[in-house]
C-alpha cells in the first residue's frame, strides 16, 4: 500500500512536472527607450544588447523551458511619452522592464513601476535622483552621474590641469546634474569655474556662446548633455577659431558626434562605461552581434545585456517571475555578468564604478586614457 501511494505520488509529480513543461510560455521583457527622436541611437544600443541576451538565453533552452521575448516600447526620450509607455506596459501585463534610457524619462516611469510592482532595470540612466526615492523595484546596471562626474573632475584636476574652465549643460536632468557634480568637485579641488551656463537642447546656433567662451579665454569646457548639441558646439568652435579642450559624459560617446563635428571631434575627452566589448569574456557575444550586422561597441550594449542576465538569474533562483521576490534576490545576491560582478546597495545602485576616461577620435572610435 505504501509502495502504491509512493508510485501514485511520483506519477502525480511527474504529471505535474510534465504539465509545467507543457505550459512553457514566453516571459515578456519590455524594452523601454527612444526608438525614434534625436537620441534614438542609444535606444538601438540597448536593443542590440537585450536582443542578443534574449537570443543567447533562448538558444540555451530558455529559463526552465520558458522562452524570453523582448517587446519594444518607444518613449522618444520624452518624459511625457515615458509615462504613457509605462502605463501601456502595465496594461500589457508585462512585469519586467529594461529601460528607460534618458534619466528624465526613467524617473517618472519608475514611479509607475514601483507602484505596480514591476521590476525595472535601467542600463543607461545615470541620474542619482532615480534611486533616491527609496523605490524597491528600481535597479541599474550602470554607475551614477555622481561617480562619473567625480571621475571626470579627478581627471581634469590631475591630468588636464586647465587654467580657465567653463561648465556648460543642456538644462536637462542628466546634463545639468552631471555638470553640477563636476563643478562642485572641481571647486573642491581648488579650481575656479569661470562660466556655468545652460544651452537649450535642440538649438542649432551656439555662435554667441562660443564668442563668450573665447572672450573669457576659456581653455577647457566640460559639457553635460548629449552629442547633437556638443557636436554643433565643436563644429562651430572650430569655424570660429576657438580651440579649447572639450570633455563630456557617455551621452556624447557616439559615432554621430564625429559625423556632426568632423575634424573638431578629434581628441575630445569623455567618461563612459568601460568597453565591455573588449573584455575577452564577451568575445563570443561580440562576434554574434557583429554577425547580425550590428554594432557591439556602444556604451549601453553590454549594460543592457547584463540587465537581462540579472533577470534570468533572478527568475531561476526565485523559481518564478514574481517581480518583488526577484527584486529582493537581486539586492542580496551578487552575480557575475557580461559587465563583471554586479552587487547592489540598498538603493539599487551598483557598488562599483564602471566608468573610464576615453579620448574620442574623428573616425568615431575611442581609446582609453590611462
Amino acid at each position: 500500500m505504501k509502495k502504491f501511494t509512493r508510485t501514485l505520488l511520483s506519477v502525480g509529480l511527474a504529471a505535474s512536472l510534465y504539465g509545467a513543461s507543457a505550459q512553457a510560455d514566453t516571459i515578456k521583457i519590455a524594452l523601454a527607450g527612444p526608438a525614434t527622436g534625436p537620441v534614438a541611437q542609444y535606444g538601438d544600443m540597448q536593443k542590440i544588447g537585450v536582443m542578443a541576451a534574449i537570443e543567447d538565453i533562448n538558444n540555451a533552452g530558455g529559463i526552465n523551458g520558458d522562452k524570453l521575448e523582448g517587446v519594444i516600447y518607444d518613449d522618444a526620450c520624452d518624459p511625457k511619452q515615458a509615462v504613457a509607455v509605462a502605463n501601456k506596459i502595465v496594461n500589457d501585463d508585462i512585469q519586467l522592464v529594461v529601460g528607460h534610457l534618458c534619466s528624465s524619462s526613467t524617473e517618472p516611469a519608475s514611479d509607475i513601476y514601483e507602484e505596480e510592482g514591476i521590476l525595472m532595470i535601467t542600463a543607461a540612466s545615470t541620474s542619482p535622483s532615480i534611486t533616491e526615492k527609496g523605490h524597491q523595484m528600481v535597479f541599474r546596471t550602470i554607475g551614477l552621474d555622481s561617480l562619473q562626474g567625480t571621475l571626470a573632475a579627478e581627471h581634469i584636476l590631475n591630468n588636464v590641469k586647465p587654467k580657465t574652465i567653463a561648465v556648460i549643460h543642456d538644462k536637462q536632468q542628466y546634463g545639468e546634474g552631471l555638470a553640477t557634480t563636476v563643478k562642485s568637485a572641481l571647486e573642491k579641488g581648488g579650481l575656479n569655474i569661470t562660466m556655468f551656463e545652460g544651452v537649450t537642447a535642440g538649438d542649432k546656433d551656439f555662435s554667441a556662446l562660443i564668442a563668450k567662451l573665447k572672450k573669457e579665454g576659456v581653455d577647457f569646457v566640460y559639457y553635460g548633455g548629449y552629442h547633437p548639441e556638443l557636436g554643433l558646439i565643436l563644429r562651430q568652435s572650430k569655424e570660429k577659431g576657438f580651440n579649447a579642450q572639450f570633455m563630456g559624459p557617455e551621452g556624447i560617446v557616439n559615432s554621430d558626434l564625429a559625423k556632426i563635428a568632423g575634424e573638431a571631434s578629434e581628441g575630445v575627452l569623455a567618461t563612459a562605461p568601460k568597453s565591455f566589448d573588449q573584455n575577452p569574456v564577451n568575445q563570443a557575444r561580440v562576434e554574434a552581434i557583429k554577425a547580425k550586422g550590428e554594432d557591439p561597441t556602444g556604451p549601453f550594449v553590454f549594460t543592457a545585456y547584463a540587465a537581462v542576465e540579472l533577470m534570468k538569474n533572478a527568475i531561476e533562483k526565485t523559481g518564478g517571475t514574481d517581480p518583488e521576490k526577484m527584486a529582493e534576490h537581486l539586492r542580496s545576491n551578487p552575480l557575475d555578468t557580461a559587465i563583471g560582478k554586479i552587487a547592489y546597495d540598498a538603493k539599487g545602485d551598483l557598488t562599483e564604478s564602471t566608468f573610464q576616461v576615453y579620448q574620442l577620435h574623428k573616425d568615431g572610435s575611442k581609446t582609453a586614457v590611462k
Binding site: K171, D203, K204, A208, Q236, E239, G262
Partner: protein
C-alpha cells in the same frame, strides 16, 4: 579697439546672421497672413524639407565626383526651391483651398495636421536621426588684435547675408513692380473685390504659398550649410522663431518680417553675450510681449481693420 567693442561687433555679426535666416522664413508666414489672414503652420516643415533636399543633392553630386562648389550649390538651390515650392503649393491645395470660406479655425487645424504629417513623413523616409554634412564653405575674415579679441566673420556668414539681401530685394521688386505682385497686393487689400474685378485669386494665393516656400527653401539651404546638421524636428523651432519674428515686425508686412527677424536674432545673441545663455528665450519672448503690449499690430504692422 577695446575688447568690449570687438566682442560687441562679434555678437552683432552672429545675431544678424541668425536674424537674416529668421527673416527669410518669416516672410512665408507674413505673406500668407497678409493675403488670406491665416497662419500657415506647415511652413516650418517646408524649411526643414528644403534643408533635407539640399543635403541629398549635395551629397549626391559630391558622390558623383563633382568638385566645383559654386555649381553644386546652385544646382542644390534650384532643386531645393523647385521641390519645396511644390510642397508649398500642395499644402495650399490640400489644406487650405478646399476649406476656404469656412470658419477660420478649420484651416488652422488642417495646417497643423499638415505640419505633423510632413514631419512624420520625413521621419519615415529619412529616419529621425541627425543627418550631417561636412563643412563645405570654411574659412573667413578675422580682424582685431588676436591678443585682445579676434572677431571672426566667416565666408558662410557673409554668404547668408548676401543671399538674404538679394532674396529680399528681389521679392520687394517683384511685389512692387510686377503684374503678379500687384495682384498680390490687391488680394491683401480686399480678396473678394479683387476676385470680382477678374483677377484669379486662387492663383494669386497659390503663388504666395509658392514664394513663401521658395524662400523657406533658401533658408533651409543656408542654415543646412551653416550648421551642417538637419533632423526632421528642426522645422518646429525654426518655424516658431520665424513666426515670432513675423508677429514682432507686424504680421502681414514684408519689411516688418525682415525687421522682426533681425531684431529677434540680435536680441538672442546679445542676451547670450551679456547674460547667462539660459535667459536667451526669456528675454526674446519677453521683448515680444512688451512690443505687442505697446504696439499690438507689431512694429510695422497696419492697425487691424475688421474685414467685412
Amino acid at each position: 579697439m577695446t575688447e568690449t567693442f570687438l566682442y560687441l561687433i562679434q555678437q552683432l555679426i552672429n545675431g544678424l546672421t541668425i536674424g537674416s535666416t529668421y527673416a527669410l522664413i518669416a516672410i512665408g508666414y507674413t505673406m500668407v497672413y497678409g493675403i488670406i489672414g491665416m497662419i500657415n503652420f506647415a511652413h516650418g516643415e517646408i524649411y526643414m524639407i528644403g534643408s533635407y533636399i539640399t543635403f541629398i543633392v549635395i551629397a549626391g553630386l559630391l558622390g558623383m565626383g563633382m568638385v566645383s562648389l559654386p555649381i553644386i550649390l546652385i544646382i542644390a538651390l534650384i532643386v531645393a526651391v523647385i521641390i519645396a515650392s511644390t510642397y508649398g503649393w500642395t499644402v495650399e491645395r490640400v489644406a487650405y483651398r478646399p476649406l476656404r470660406g469656412t470658419n477660420r479655425l478649420i484651416p488652422l487645424i488642417s495646417a497643423i495636421g499638415m505640419s505633423i504629417f510632413l514631419q512624420n513623413y520625413v521621419v519615415l523616409a529619412q529616419g529621425s536621426r541627425d543627418v550631417a554634412l561636412p563643412p563645405q564653405i570654411s574659412g573667413g575674415w578675422t580682424f582685431g588684435d588676436p591678443s585682445v579679441f579676434e572677431v571672426s566673420f566667416s565666408y558662410m556668414q557673409a554668404l547668408i547675408w548676401v543671399v538674404t539681401f538679394v532674396a529680399m530685394t528681389a521679392l520687394t521688386l517683384f511685389i512692387s513692380r510686377s503684374r503678379m505682385g500687384r495682384a498680390c497686393r490687391a488680394c491683401s487689400e480686399d480678396l473678394g473685390m479683387t476676385n470680382l474685378l477678374g483677377i484669379d485669386t486662387n492663383r494669386t494665393i497659390a503663388l504666395t504659398f509658392i514664394i513663401g516656400a521658395a524662400l523657406a527653401a533658401v533658408a533651409g539651404l543656408l542654415l543646412g550649410l551653416y550648421y551642417g546638421v538637419v533632423n526632421p524636428f528642426v522645422g518646429f523651432i525654426a518655424g516658431l522663431k520665424a513666426f515670432t519674428a513675423a508677429v514682432l515686425g507686424g504680421i502681414g508686412s514684408i519689411p516688418g518680417a525682415v525687421l522682426g527677424g533681425l531684431i529677434l536674432g540680435v536680441t538672442e545673441a546679445l542676451t547670450s553675450a551679456y547674460f547667462p545663455s539660459e535667459y536667451k528665450d526669456v528675454v526674446s519672448f519677453g521683448l515680444l510681449v512688451l512690443i505687442l503690449l505697446f504696439r499690438p499690430s507689431g512694429l510695422l504692422g497696419k492697425p487691424e481693420v475688421e474685414k467685412v
